[in-house]
Symmetry: C2
């Protein structure tokens, strides 16, 4: 049975270009994966995702576990057929959602007991049951079940949850059985660089074919995020893909690629789109702004998406003002294309041995005075 | 400058097939026009409309007059460019919306004074100003400004508003000036068959290149609708297109084509889609029904739309249950395709001289026991 295989193709400093082969086709890395929380990338159809060059889609195990349930999805032929996405899919493990969305969770060594945020039912997930759920969903890449500590908790909590994540990683490896699916490990470490490096080395030694950095982008400031990210990435095996969970701001992606990251996912582009915001090479803009009322130019004249090829900014302004669904669709489409294209350009820059110049150029235009971009620039010097 | 020209190509009883030539391409009739109230057919993009064979789109003068305003649309190159629809467009005149949506309207001989339903501003529209607004919007077909009486008002009101509609029709004809746009007249007559026939003859004698039947499908029962429709259609010139405003239920379209109607518009297919309902050859269904939870078949196995070619009914059920925008998009797409295809089949039946058999067959399958279908069958025997 075909499995996920990773091959490094080029590198430039810590930044690198690779190729993931999966049962559902190849993926060039670095890659941005749009998030299909409930087996749909919000507001977008699979044919649109394909048209804008999205190659790899994420779906959330926690949400699909609750509705419509893994047995129904398996009965209907698995997640690819269910959501009509014939490219590669990655399912997260639900670890993050159980902590952030569910009520009244209780964590013990066996697993997490929680109340569904949908109907209040008491449910339990363990490393073994999550492997079973992810096998039923049938993504190309499954993620191990972890317990990320929340930002704002103390180091005792970081240590306990990191140690638990390590023990659960081994249980996930033992429980994972589906031959056409690979399992990626997740490292934690809280907000301490040494603990991050230690967790990355520990998880990196267990034999996973790929690894994720978890527990970041959870509310901590960017001057905490990037040093933690650098510590994690620097200690993960460099012959395996390195996936940074939950990162989606353009400036963050550019910095993280510079630190050696290969894969990203985030709800940001679609969430911003539904809130009327869009990416441009000069920074994030809000379509509701009165200066867009009569703007005949597209949202982003450098963009090749259907929205930018077809409609004026004034039309988008009108659609969002009068609360038309098409407005949210088109902004979401553009935003995802923006990140997909950003990764295309990052790959080209790495292959040309010019990643640093590309990153400096991008960050020098993209909201150059914002604190977030400033930290991204500093991160590239780490 | 190219103008709208109508040519009859075939007929079968009162049912007929024609060809409208417009500055933005030809339209085969009978045709269903999806409604783009605010310069967008709700939840759908122009490339999707094209893909499902929609040839002619309607937009609402009243809504566009309020937001974003006709001057802005003209400045941005007109409605076709604004909404990126390069096929034919028809704009209604706002007569119906002024009566049904606006508050505190005052009708006198000069026009209608009303408060915007958006922000309460007091505004006025007259036959002359509506012609100016429609000229700025630049649709291929503009509609005359009428005052349809509401269902539930008394015959004095029908008579007064019908007489006013006739006087305003002449004023619209005098005021209409745009050379690449044609103006259709609207007949009224309330809910009295003789008055309907009289209004149709009166409006039909004024020299309009096409005519609409207005003031129906406004809440009256179907056993009132069809006799009124028959009286209007029977008295309109048969060498010009006959457009029935506001009709969109499949059974109503089949009956109305049988009575000699050529054009239809209605928000029904997209409104139903946003409410989780969809058309099938056996009648209207609600996707929320528990029996669709695990249904692997498409919504309608006879349909060729993207939704039916790609997704299971179970997936649509899931999307709507978890309130995902894609669900509303796909149901809207299917419902519009259903009506577009119904008109394709109606045209083929007329050309084959088999319209009555087609109509009987369709109505015999489509919710055959419903009161609405029963009245549609009776109408075909009028």
């Amino acid at each position: 049975m075909a499995r996920v295989v990773f091959a490094l193709e080029a590198s430039d400093g810590a930044a690198r270009v690779g190729r993931l082969s999966t049962p559902h086709g190849p993926v060039e890395t670095p890659v941005f994966m749009p998030v299909g929380t409930q087996a749909t990338v919000k507001a977008l159809a699979p044919d649109e995702l394909r048209a804008i060059g999205a190659s790899f889609v994420l779906a959330n195990t926690y949400h699909l576990f609750l509705r419509p349930g893994p047995d129904l999805i398996a009965q209907l032929g698995g997640l690819h057929r269910f959501m009509a996405w014939d490219g590669p899919i990655l399912t997260d493990s639900g670890g993050f959602q159980v902590i952030s969305l569910a009520d009244l969770r209780k964590i013990d060594e066996s697993g997490v007991t929680f109340k569904s945020h949908v109907d209040g039912t008491t449910l339990k997930l363990s490393p073994e049951s999550v492997m079973e759920v992810e096998a039923k969903l049938g993504a190309d890449v499954a993620m191990a079940f972890d317990t990320p500590p929340r930002w704002g908790t103390d180091p005792t909590e970081w240590k306990a949850s990191t140690a638990r994540t390590h023990r659960w990683a081994e249980r996930c490896l033992r429980a994972h059985a589906r031959a056409d699916q690979v399992l990626f490990g997740i490292c934690q470490g809280g907000f301490d660089a040494a603990a991050r490096a230690d967790s990355a080395r520990t998880v990196g030694s267990l034999g996973f074919p790929g690894h994720a950095v978890g527990g970041l982008s959870v509310g901590e400031p960017k001057d905490v995020l990037f040093p933690m990210l650098a510590a994690s990435l620097g200690a993960l095996p460099c012959d395996r893909p390195r996936y940074v969970m939950g990162l989606g701001a353009p400036e963050d992606l550019v910095a993280a690629v510079g630190l050696g990251a290969d894969m990203f996912d985030c709800v940001l582009p679609t969430r911003l789109g539904r809130n009327g915001a869009f990416f441009t090479p000069e920074g994030r803009r809000n379509i509701d702004n009165a200066r867009f009322r009569a703007e005949a130019a597209p949202l982003d004249h450098t963009c090749d998406c259907y929205c930018c090829r077809t409609f004026s900014t004034a039309y988008l302004h009108h659609l969002v003002r009068v609360e038309e669904i098409l407005g949210l669709r088109l902004l979401s489409l553009h935003n995802v294309r923006f990140l997909v294209r950003l990764m295309e350009r990052a790959r080209a820059a790495v292959r040309a041995g010019a990643y640093r110049a590309f990153a400096d150029d991008f960050l020098g235009r993209y909201a150059p005075d914002s604190a977030s971009t400033r930290e991204a620039r500093r991160a590239l010097r780490l």
